[in-house]
């Protein structure tokens, strides 16, 4: 049994059958992290003592027959913008290098109550936006499939750590694609839930109206299990929605027979897209059709439109968050974050409102599409992971994004592996988006696909152990 590569579902079965204990699992994962993370930089802080204490407690409760939920005894990591009481939460930034929160984020409270085991705080682009950066207190994370490449961002540490087998699950955050991008580049699964489905309280904000918190794992089934533990209304989050949380695991098994899926035209191919992507998406569509889904093309606005709209809104909201630090200590920002935040100072109020009104129109076109389709399909990323190049120009807002359309509409969107590029051997990804609060449908489609394929069961080779 290769403990580091077991999924949440497999660990739960092993715990139930007393083939493994949470303490045994944590020790195996800590050994793997110690052996390999110096070359991947996925951790900012390993919480070894906390992990072992939480694992012992989980073990005690499991042996006593006390069940706390799907994450009981399951190791996980947190992107380091998620606040943890008594544990530094840095935002991967000099600006908060010594920040120790007094309280846990709401999702941390839920994961703790459910018996989860915190393995550590993970790398991020600076405050979930500025990256990849080489001028921060910690180096940028690397991609386990090729350490000369990046894992994408901004949930760079979670993407790298889950793909590397350091943990079966991590919490990421996604404003314009920061869960789905790293999931796509690292060959794992990442869900941006519906806006309001998972509490944002205690997570450092990026763009108030588009911030989402979600799970990153190695299977759709595991996404369902972790989502179950963190989803639900939080009256202290102004964006939280009070609507029922279904049994996501139970909903996985419906299959896709008869579902109507819209393949968005022109997003995953053409200029700038990796040449192997369109064939990989076509093959994924063929699998779903073979399982009984009806797939038809659908036309939506261009990625240029969605990217412009999202980036304008984000720039202004970002500035309102970072303005005090920008006035007081601009030199303490990483260069990339500073230059992505500053434009918000110059964008006029009428431009921001024009973008918000445009956002309504763009969301409405998706609403019309979801009247015809149960889900929409596109790629999780248009390229493979970038090379780690400190001199590369910042293309934020210039390069179009294939994840931002569903940030604009706030609907659930899941990236899952669907192949590899032929020349580079790097992961390719399928993105499935659903109607608001229909995460269960998105996960059901992904689970059916993963029962028929094994892309999600491919793992990178980490190379020799470090001494």
């Amino acid at each position: 049994m290769d403990i580091p590569l077991l999924t949440i579902a497999e660990l739960r079965r092993a715990y139930d059958q007393r083939e493994l204990s949470p303490v045994e699992v944590i020790r195996a994962l800590l050994d793997r992290v110690a052996a390999h993370d110096a070359r991947l930089n996925s951790f900012i802080r390993i919480t070894e003592d906390i992990a072992l204490a939480e694992a012992r407690e989980a073990e005690r409760l499991l042996l006593a027959g006390e069940r706390r939920g799907p994450m009981q005894g399951i190791p996980y990591g947190l992107k380091d913008i998620v606040e943890t009481a008594g544990i530094p939460t840095t935002g991967h930034s000099k600006l908060r290098q010594d920040h120790v929160p007094a309280a846990d984020a709401e999702i941390v409270r839920r994961l703790k109550a459910g018996g989860g085991v915190l393995l550590g705080k993970l790398a991020t682009w600076e405050f979930a936006l500025g990256g990849p950066s080489w001028d921060l207190p910690w180096p940028p994370a690397r991609n386990p499939w090729d350490r000369d490449r990046l894992p994408g961002g901004s949930s760079s540490g979670p993407g790298a750590a889950v793909a590397a087998g350091f943990m079966p699950a991590a919490i990421g955050t996604d404003t314009g694609g920061s869960i789905r991008g790293p999931a796509a580049f690292c060959g794992i699964c990442g869900l941006k839930p519906t806006y309001g489905r998972v509490s944002r309280r205690g997570v450092f904000p990026n763009t108030f109206t588009m911030d989402h918190i979600g799970p990153m794992t190695r299977s759709a089934e595991d996404i369902a299990l972790m989502l179950q533990a963190i989803a639900g209304f939080d009256p202290a989050d102004p964006g939280s929605e009070d609507c029922p949380v279904p049994d996501y695991r139970a909903a996985l098994d419906g299959g896709v027979n008869g579902l109507r899926l819209g393949l968005v035209e022109g997003w995953h191919d053409g200029e700038g897209a990796h040449p192997d992507l369109a064939p990989a998406i076509a093959a994924a569509v063929a699998v779903l059709q073979g399982l009984g889904a009806v797939v038809e093309p659908v036309k939506l606005s261009s990625l240029r439109d969605y990217t412009d709209c999202k980036t304008t809104i984000s720039s202004v909201e970002l500035y309102s968050i970072h303005e005090p630090d920008l006035r007081a200590r601009p030199q303490d920002f990483g260069r990339i974050l500073r230059n992505r935040v500053l434009p918000g100072a110059l964008i006029r109020g009428e431009d921001y409102l024009a973008a918000l009104r445009w956002r309504g129109a763009l969301a409405n076109e998706q609403k019309r599409a979801f009247a015809r389709f149960d889900a929409l399909l596109t790629a999780g990323a248009r390229t493979i992971a970038d090379r780690a190049d400190p001199s590369a120009p910042d293309r934020h807002g210039v390069t179009v994004s294939i994840t931002m359309p569903f940030s604009i509409s706030g609907v659930p969107a899941l990236a899952i592996p669907c192949g590899f590029s032929r020349a580079e051997g790097m992961p390719l990804s399928l993105q499935i988006a659903g109607r608001p609060f229909e995460e269960a449908t998105v996960l059901r489609i992904a689970h059916a696909y993963q029962l028929a394929t094994d892309w999600h069961r491919q793992h990178p080779t980490l190379g020799p152990t470090l001494d």
């Binding site: 109206t209 240029r304 412009d308 709209c309 980036t311 304008t312 720039s315 920008l326 006035r327 601009p330 030199q331 260069r335 500073r338 230059n339 500053l342 434009p343 100072a345 110059l346 964008i347 006029r348 431009d351 409102l353 024009a354 973008a355 918000l356 009104r357 445009w358 956002r359 309504g360 129109a361 969301a363 910042d394 807002g397 210039v398």
Partner: protein, 68 residues
């Protein structure tokens, strides 16, 4: 009056410096120069936003007192 802002001339370096100052920011020269190089791509982006919407097309996330 046209809704197309893309016809406007790009801001000069002096314009950008003045806008930064008007925003109340006092950046060291090196950081200001970096930003002067970055702003044109954002200016072009903002000017691509379509305008001239009807009054019924209100902003996303309008205030909803029923949510209180």
């Amino acid at each position: 009056m046209s809704d197309d802002l893309s016809r406007l001339p790009p801001a000069s370096a002096d314009d950008i410096r003045a806008l930064v100052k008007r925003a109340g920011l006092d950046l060291p020269e090196e950081l200001l120069q970096q930003f002067v190089a970055v702003w044109p791509q954002y200016e072009a982006m903002v000017r691509r936003i379509p305008r001239g919407r009807g009054y019924d097309e209100e902003p996303a996330h309008t205030f909803r007192p029923a949510r209180w």
